[in-house]
Amino acid sequence: MSVEPALMSLTSVAQAIAQKHFSSREATQSCLARIAQWQPRLNAFMAIEADQALAAADAADAAISKGTASGALHGVPLAHKDMYYDAGRVVSCGSKIRRDFVATTTSTALRRLKQAGTIRLGSLQMAEFAYGPTGHNSHYGPVHNPWNVDHITGGSSSGSGAAVAARLTFAALGSDTGGSIRMPAHFCGVTGLKTTYGRISRAGAMPLSQSLDTVGPLARSAEDCALLLGLMAGADPQDPTAIGGPVPDYAAATRESIAGLSIGVPAAFYVDDLDPEVGRILDETIAVLKREGANVVEVELPDQRQLTAACQLVLAVEAAAFHRRWLIERPQDYGPQVLMRLQNGLAIPGVTYLEAMRWRGPALAAHNAAVAKVDAMIAPAAPVAAPTIAESDVGNSPEAESVIQRLTRFTRPINYLGLPSLSIPAGFTRSGLPVGMQLIGRSFDEAMLLRIGAAFQRVTDFHDRVPNPA
């Protein structure tokens, strides 16, 4: 082995195992060695299942020897956000309440990845019940950013962001209800795909807000996200919101040029009050896209503040409804911030909630009209790079909600509209923290985002940079 397997991309490692350049055991050992090195610094894993992973790797290698291997990811070790039900396994959802919850079913997304041949390394940390954008968790401690462990990872897919960035897993499932894939992708310097609402089945994924929840991957490149999306997308009888029809060839899309495409830059909101370094990186990203032949034009969007408000109303009510029984029976078992945010949902009248739901169609139609002449948009994923753990540890203080809303103000409108968005590493601050840009597409047009993201990554190396353990 001349190359450390754990440093390879998902696509490359899957091919290397299939072609017997190295074994599934060697790939798994490589990940486990990095996990042992990084876990004490990052707190990225909820559970590490080394012995089981190695046994599964040996079985995968045996299947290859017998010629019975099947699946595009045969023998590839992965770990996922600890909210995907896996029958017979504890799925904590980052909570005290579900600390001992053993799933009796397996989520559709996870099952499809298993059918492709993946093996399980363990489970990844997350914000309690996926309700927090920072990576803090009052029960299990914060996850630390591999680029600077004094800084947050973003959440709620905090362990997924940190583990992919530090090359502890080749990719990881996250979930995105208000920015929970794109925030950690941005803060940790990895590629994260928030899929269109309905693109991937939510069955067996812990719910937070049934109207906003989406399943998606965090990985090292757009190419890797395309591979994973192609395996997971499609209709599912267990989730009536998962759309049918043919699944596009996402991998093929990543090989296409972006010459002649039209990419919109919002004239306002997403470019307002940016940290200067985020603004600089946005400009540099636009320059790269132009060099690759894209036409970058300004677009005037409808009032995004109304979308963020509507998203907050829908999310707060639906989360409170899911949690109502535990709010009555076990309020003391929530962390202070999550309890506070769940209580917010009690204060919203049913009429207001339904108005926010009724407005989704017209709001999406207005957005579609505004972007009709572009193939996709580009905008920062967040206005700042990763804050420190100390400065973002606001708990349930009076300013907590405003801190949360500021961090997620560029992601929530997209959740409300149900649109796909790909966060790609686009640069670094002078202090060495990554910054991501989100590509925002039309409903169900993930292929366009993956095409643009892959084109950007062919001529930049931000996604290939690996943090060093101090």
Binding site: T196, L313, Q343, L346, A347, T352, W359, P362, F444
Partner: protein, 65 residues
Amino acid sequence: MTRPTPKEIKAMADVAGVPVSTEVAARVANSIGPAFEGFAAVAGTLPFDLEPASFVLVQAAGDPT
């Protein structure tokens, strides 16, 4: 549309079977108030026949596949 007051929030929480203290009600009012204000321009303006499922129709109309 105005943001709910702590007193109103306390009453709503009681009705929901999840009573909150006066202090928590004040914190909730502070947290959720901006969402009410942000949505105020939309609230009360939607046409009679509009229902939430219109979102799915608009979404499907934009599906490139």
